[in-house]
């Protein structure tokens, strides 16, 4: 990591804003476990049974249902 990414003030502000916004409703809730977080991924790793939040690189999962309701035109 010779030249590390240096966050600008905007980046930091956005990070903090995003974290606060996301955490705010978290306080009074019961655990259900995110569906996508526990789904096994096969991209970027050749280990079987690696779940999306356990990878060394970020992997997002778009489910068929999400796809259906977010891409009505495509």
């Amino acid at each position: 990591m010779q030249q590390r990414f240096a966050p600008t003030p905007t980046v930091l502000a956005l990070t903090i804003a995003a974290l606060c916004a996301a955490m705010a409703p978290a306080q009074a809730q019961e655990a259900t476990g995110g569906e996508s977080a526990s789904t096994v991924v096969v991209t970027g790793t050749r280990v079987a049974n690696r779940s999306a939040l356990d990878t060394a690189s970020p992997v997002d999962i778009i489910s068929a249902d999400t796809l259906k309701s977010t891409a009505p035109r495509s």
Partner: protein, 752 residues
């Protein structure tokens, strides 16, 4: 798809000669061809079309995600990190892996109808002094762009454990029309006065918007376990797509019009036909401790152009009005063999996972010519000068452009991954490639993750990657004829190896090389999960399409080199260096509110900044006076600021018994629509697009949904007349959310 994917964008240009029927994706502000698309973890073939127009992704040939119907998709994994050391070429900014359904029972049929219901504003201009028409309305209501999609998938059993999943989709889409009110003088004056038809002609004369499209797709995915435990699998897809996209309106009095054919001018239409086919077969089995997998995947994409409602002005009144303009085909055959096994090694907290593999690939690209009248000159003179050659809007490919080429590539890779301690996960990959055209490449990747606690982990990677020049970039060529003082000069998009391009300083294309660093954090405070990932991607020697070099100095120089009648042109060249830095944040929170239902909140944000640190030059061009610029301001700024600087998406899903609602807001940061000079730059300000959908399950099998995308009917700021001198394109093609306005739809699904 933008929801959980902060840095994924789908540029939506219009009036771009067929590019508008393909829906390439970009990750992290990079080009569409700098991310790799896989289907079931195997490399998918790209479109045969290389995007030549001035829109996002100029110069790239990308995978067309429209060829995969959503009914066939189980889910899509998006790796937001380079992975060239694992998958080879193209995986610079990330990998999109489409995983197909593997159902052996069940099924669902869906019908969707949607249309645009929208209002937009115009800034009309161009009326001559004393015009007997105008000023025209400043806003307009439209209902158009009707889309009907009928799709179904069905899972069938194959033996005791196998599956055959079939999906089919038929889709038709009407075009949208967001023209300006064209105030220009349309007809020549009659005895010094304006033609009376000026008052009656339809001044909404363009088709700016989404193309008209008819598309049929079938997709099959099958797999089974054999008696010995080996698994066989395969899939196949076929799509036929006819699309109509318009060019710019040719005014009645335009010298490119023949009034005997089109007394009121014409809107030339590019009718592209895409035929896409893929087939794959593979086996996975075990030998000792090794899990082996071998597969053969074929893909082919053919695009042919007809140009209709047009003419070849050089044939005068005898011209045909539709032409076969030729087209191109891309083919890819990929063979894979991979072995994976675990080694127990003392001192490691988990077995060492080792993967070794090889991939052989053969690609082909063929370009075929159009009919002669689609490009040649019929000899008719207009005002004593030769008339324009070829079909208006899209002159056909000439026999001299035709080619049929192929290349092969072989890659080998090794990939290890293990938990060194309970908290430290590390992986390393290395991959070597040899291409028979430009040579070899070695990529490496190191990635690690440290789990400080169950709630918090840091992850990071360092790697280099590459993107091989595409066959499309190496071999696409087309020629048009320009008359300069009555003398014909050929203007060509040259192959980089063409002698004229070489005389201008072109070199054989070599690979783009990238270096990526990323550092991120994963936080889990059940049920809340948050990921924050920063990245820095340096790309050296990006391949770009040069400016059209047609100045007098260039032309004189080319003619002096012995190329008579050649007026210049453009070519693909290595030589742009860029540095992209950014940050992705995704927060997800499922919430069971008991009697009030279940919620799922997602907040995703991205900031991204690209800098161009080097542009290509050639000694030959630098020696000219004046020296032309090889890669100009507009293209530099398109790379730097043509995609949103930031993007935030907040979405909420709610479900209670038979009811469901999805609400989503996406805020796109500023985007620059660059001009040739700073005075012509146009900024698209921040816009928030809100999408809403409500669902109800009427019975266990039947459910209905209604929704709207872009509920508040947002457009980018209307272009002033100075940037829209034809009145044909009231909005910038750089608008990240398109220029078609609100879309409302209803969907009925029946499961069986």
């Amino acid at each position: 798809m933008s929801v959980a994917l902060p840095s994924l964008n789908f540029p939506r240009p219009a009036l771009t000669d067929g590019t508008d029927t393909i829906r390439p994706a970009t990750l992290r502000g990079m080009a569409p061809d700098q991310s790799l698309v896989l289907v079931n973890s195997k490399r998918r073939h790209t479109s045969s079309l290389v995007n030549l127009n001035g829109s996002i992704g100029r110069g790239s040939a990308a995978v067309d995600l429209n060829t995969i119907p959503t009914a066939m998709v189980k889910n899509i994994e998006v790796l937001r990190d380079g992975a060239a050391a694992q998958y080879g070429s193209d995986a610079i900014s990330g990998v999109v892996n489409v995983r197909l359904r593997t159902d052996r029972d069940g099924g669902e049929g869906t019908f969707t109808f949607g249309e645009r219901k929208t209002d937009y504003s115009m800034l009309n201009g161009g009326a001559p002094a004393g015009a007997t028409w105008g000023p025209g309305p400043s806003s307009r209501s439209r209902t158009d762009g009707q889309v009907r999609t009928l799709s179904a998938w069905k899972g069938l059993p194959w033996g005791d454990s196998g599956y055959v999943t079939i999906a089919a989709e038929a889709k038709s889409q009407e075009h949208t029309e967001r023209s300006g009110y064209d105030l220009r003088q349309q007809y020549a004056r009659v005895n010094g006065a304006f033609d009376p038809r000026e008052q009656t002609i339809n001044r909404y004369n363009a088709w700016y918007g989404e193309p008209e499209m008819k598309q049929k797709t079938v997709f099959v995915n099958a797999g089974n376990t054999l008696a010995g435990g080996a698994k066989v699998y395969g899939w196949s897809s076929y799509q036929l797509r006819d699309a109509l996209s318009a060019g710019y309106f040719r005014l009645p009095q335009d010298v490119r019009n023949v009034q005997a054919i089109y007394p009121d001018g014409f809107l030339p239409i590019i009718a592209s036909t895409v035929e896409d086919f893929s087939a794959a077969a593979g086996v996975s089995w075990s030998v000792g401790d090794w899990d082996l997998d071998t597969s053969l995947v074929y893909g082919q994409n053919r695009m042919n152009y007809d140009v209709v409602n047009t003419l070849n002005a050089s044939y005068g009144a005898a011209s045909k009005t539709s032409f076969d303009a030729g087209g191109f085909t891309y083919k890819q055959l990929v063979y894979n063999l991979t072995g994976v096994r675990k080694f127990d090694i003392g001192g490691l907290a988990s077995p060492l996972n080792v993967a070794l593999g090889t991939e052989a690939r053969r690609e082909g690209y063929e370009l075929h010519a159009g009919e002669p009248t689609s490009w040649n000159n019929g000899g008719v003179l207009v005002n004593g000068l030769p008339a324009a050659s070829g079909a208006q809007v899209f002159p056909g490919f000439r026999p001299a452009n035709a080619s049929d080429t192929s290349r092969t590539a072989i890659g080998v890779f090794a990939d290890v991954e293990a938990n060194i301690t309970d908290k430290l996960l590390a992986s390393a990959a290395v991959r070597g490639e040899h291409y028979n055209d430009f040579g070899g490449n070695v990529s490496g990747k190191l990635a690690a993750r440290y789990d400080f606690a169950k709630q918090f982990a840091l992850r990071g990677s360092a790697q280099n990657g590459f993107r091989a020049p595409s066959l499309q970039q190496q071999n696409f060529t087309s020629t048009s004829t320009n008359f300069i003082n009555g003398i014909p000069y050929e203007i060509t998009t040259f192959k980089p190896l063409d002698p004229v391009a070489v005389a201008l300083g072109a070199q054989p294309l070599k690979a783009e090389k990238s270096t990526n660093y990323s550092l991120g954090a994963v936080m889990r405070f059940a049920p809340l999960s948050i990921t924050v990932d920063a990245y820095r991607i340096k790309v050296r020697d990006r391949i770009v399409l040069s400016e059209n070099l047609t100045s007098t100095a260039v032309r004189d120089y080319i003619v002096r080199q012995g190329f008579a009648g050649v007026g210049g042109g453009r070519f693909f060249i290595n030589g742009v260096d860029t540095t992209t830095k950014g940050l992705d944040i995704v927060a997800n929170l499922p919430w069971n509110a008991g009697a009030a239902g279940r919620f799922d909140f997602t907040l995703a944000g991205n900031v991204n900044k690209t800098e161009v640190t080097r542009v290509p030059t050639t000694a030959q061009l630098a020696a000219l006076n004046p020296a032309p610029i090889l890669f100009d301001r507009v293209n530099v700024l398109t790379l730097e600021q043509g995609q949103p600087k930031n993007k935030i998406t907040a979405s909420a899903n709610w479900k209670l018994n038979q009811w469901g609602v999805t609400a989503r807001a996406t805020r796109y940061g500023k985007v620059l629509s660059p001009g040739t000079t700073e005075a012509n730059d146009f900024w698209i300000n921040e816009h928030t697009i809100v999408d809403l959908e409500g669902r109800i399950a009427l019975t266990k099998k039947l459910s209905l949904a209604i929704g709207a995308d872009n509920v508040f009917d947002q457009y980018s700021e209307t272009l002033p007349f100075t940037l829209n001198t034809t009145n044909n394109t009231p909005f910038s093609n750089y608008a990240p959310f398109g220029s078609s306005g609100r879309y409302i739809y209803a969907r009925a699904s029946y499961s069986f």
